[in-house]
């Protein structure tokens, strides 16, 4: 190894580790603040306490928002899993023209400004006289979750040998049974990782939701930003820390099931 190579390697490792720390900073800050006894976000906290966790239950609006966000995220991710898998199979297996265009189209919402998608959808729903905020939110969130499913499932399917399904059918399985027995196990890592990314993207979506909510249906990010603008206190840090804990549990389970490495097939 030459000096130049050694220097390059050193730089790569240093930057890599620095990026790790940098990415984790907001999480450390959130967790530290959530256990602070002080209401003004002093770091390091002057003393520790659990008061913000105790306050969680009594704060109006947070629990309904969390429930709403989880519901919207689960339902929209579920719909996207179905739509995304069907579209990905068509694009990978089909031989019709315009497949690349379809794939680009379905992934494009990821790169489109959320506020603009939100306004356009709001005005469209208003135009056709549709006013239910709950389903409006689901309709909007399917648009943001679908790209995650499409990208990952398409990549995973392009490595799949479709003749395996024919083989299973030759061996006596019906077509739906062959798909369930052969295709679904192959796709499960893709489902797990893209489902997690889609779920988190929906939970975190602010720009589309802001136009589709009403007073009774406020998703968590909207409630949190409103709260931060009016009277910020570490209750938000407490609720976020619980979400971090929940994600850690999901990651540990995923790691046991498919391995963390496969989670990054983004």
């Amino acid at each position: 190894m030459t000096t130049l190579e050694r220097l390059a390697r050193l730089a790569v490792w240093t930057i890599g580790l620095a990026v790790c720390v940098y990415l984790m900073v907001p999480l450390f800050v959130t967790v530290a603040v959530s256990f602070s006894a002080s209401p003004v976000f002093d770091l390091p906290p002057p003393s520790w306490s659990l008061r913000w966790y105790e306050a969680l239950g009594s704060k109006r609006g947070f629990l309904p928002s969390l429930t709403l966000s989880v519901q919207i995220a689960l339902i929209s991710t579920g719909i996207s899993l179905v739509l995304g898998t069907l579209t990905a199979i068509a694009v990978v297996k089909g031989r019709f023209p315009g497949r690349t265009a379809i794939s680009t189209f379905v992934v494009s919402p990821l790169m489109m400004p959320g506020l603009v998608i939100g306004i356009a959808l709001l005005q469209f729903l208003r135009e056709i006289g549709y006013r239910d905020a709950y389903t409006g939110l689901i309709l909007g969130h399917v648009i943001v979750t679908l790209p995650f499913i499409m990208r990952t499932v398409q990549a995973s399917l392009s490595l799949f040998d479709f003749t395996l399904i024919d083989a299973a059918r030759t061996l006596g399985l019906s077509y739906p049974k062959a798909v369930i027995k052969v295709l679904v196990p192959v796709l499960s890592p893709a489902y797990l990782s893209s489902g997690l990314f889609a779920f988190l993207a929906s939970m975190d979506n602010y720009p589309i939701s802001i136009f589709l909510t009403d007073a009774r249906n406020k998703t968590l990010p909207i409630q949190v930003l409103e709260y931060l603008e009016v009277r910020p206190d570490p209750t938000i840090a407490a609720i976020s820390s619980l979400l971090i804990l929940l994600t850690i549990i999901v990651l540990v389970i995923s790691d046991r099931l498919v391995g963390l490495r496969r989670m990054t097939d983004f």
Partner: protein, 279 residues
């Protein structure tokens, strides 16, 4: 042959629900928004755009948006490209550490993340305390409510979108390729410049396209980290709709931002196609 022909005809049906969904609830509404921006009370007209581009303040907003997106993308590439190599080279617990620090921060929403950065960056915050303790500065550096603070937060949120696509390309690199080149006498700089860099270009293009389009549209991060004094297209859109109730202005700005995003998508697709054709 005939059977294959039948199957060929049927597969597209599977794409119909997904594509149909997005056509009705995404493409059509965006098209209507575009139309509405030309349809003023009187008739079809581009006067909203003439007004918009005639106002120097709006050029200032466009410049703010593009500059902050460019800076964010540049820094993401600068740290994300090497970080992707570190991720690809790492094994065992170190790799787990890298993966966790990429995935776990997604569990904290952008709102909370941006707010956490305001705590770190404020004048009596941890960063300033550290800088002063190290003797790098004698008085607090103003970071929050500045563009520096904005870039700090934006790069933090978007850098995984640079690392992931680059990493997925690096993983496909055949290590024997670089080895072979070395055996044939190529220097490390030559190997990087002529072999590794060209082969990772598709990942770089995808990463730049992701980060740039996300940074162009960011709304929550500038709102919390800089505030009203630093207007971007997204903030102008939100302000027009949510506070000013000026839908004409809102839809005009929305279309301008939409066009920028479309340019990024089309350009990145075109570039990716060109690179694929060359290899």
């Amino acid at each position: 042959m005939k059977k294959q022909g039948e199957q060929k005809d049927r597969t597209w049906i599977l794409a119909a629900p997904g594509v149909g969904y997005l056509t009705v609830l995404y493409a059509l509404p965006l098209g209507l928004l575009l139309l509405a921006s030309f349809r003023l009370p009187e008739a079809f007209s581009i006067s909203a755009y003439i007004d918009f581009f005639g106002d120097p303040f709006n050029w200032y907003i466009i410049w703010n948006t593009l500059r902050s997106a460019l800076l964010t993308t540049a820094f993401c590439l600068l740290i994300g490209y090497p970080a992707a190599f570190a991720l690809a080279w790492s094994k065992g617990w170190l790799q787990s550490l890298f993966l966790i620090s990429l995935i776990l921060p997604l569990s904290v929403g952008i709102v909370v993340k941006a707010f956490a950065w305001t705590i770190v960056l404020r004048s009596d915050g941890v960063l300033n305390q550290a800088l002063m303790a190290l003797g790098l500065t004698s008085e607090p550096v103003r970071l929050i409510f500045t563009e520096t603070g904005l870039i700090f937060g934006a790069v933090n949120v978007f850098v995984p979108f640079m690392i992931m696509p680059v990493y997925s390309v690096i993983r496909l690199l055949d290590p024997r390729l670089a080895e072979a080149a070395r055996t044939l006498g190529a220097g490390p700089l030559y190997v990087f410049w002529k072999i590794i860099l060209p082969l990772t270009v598709p990942g770089i293009i995808a990463g730049i396209a992701f980060v740039f389009s996300l940074a162009l549209a960011m709304y929550v991060i500038p709102t919390l980290l800089v505030g009203e004094r630093f207007m971007t297209l997204s903030q102008q859109i939100a302000r027009s709709y949510l506070y000013l109730r000026n839908e004409t202005l809102g839809s005009t700005v929305a279309v301008v931002l939409l066009v920028f995003s479309l340019i990024v998508i089309v350009a990145s697709q075109w570039l990716a196609g060109k690179v694929r054709a060359n290899t």
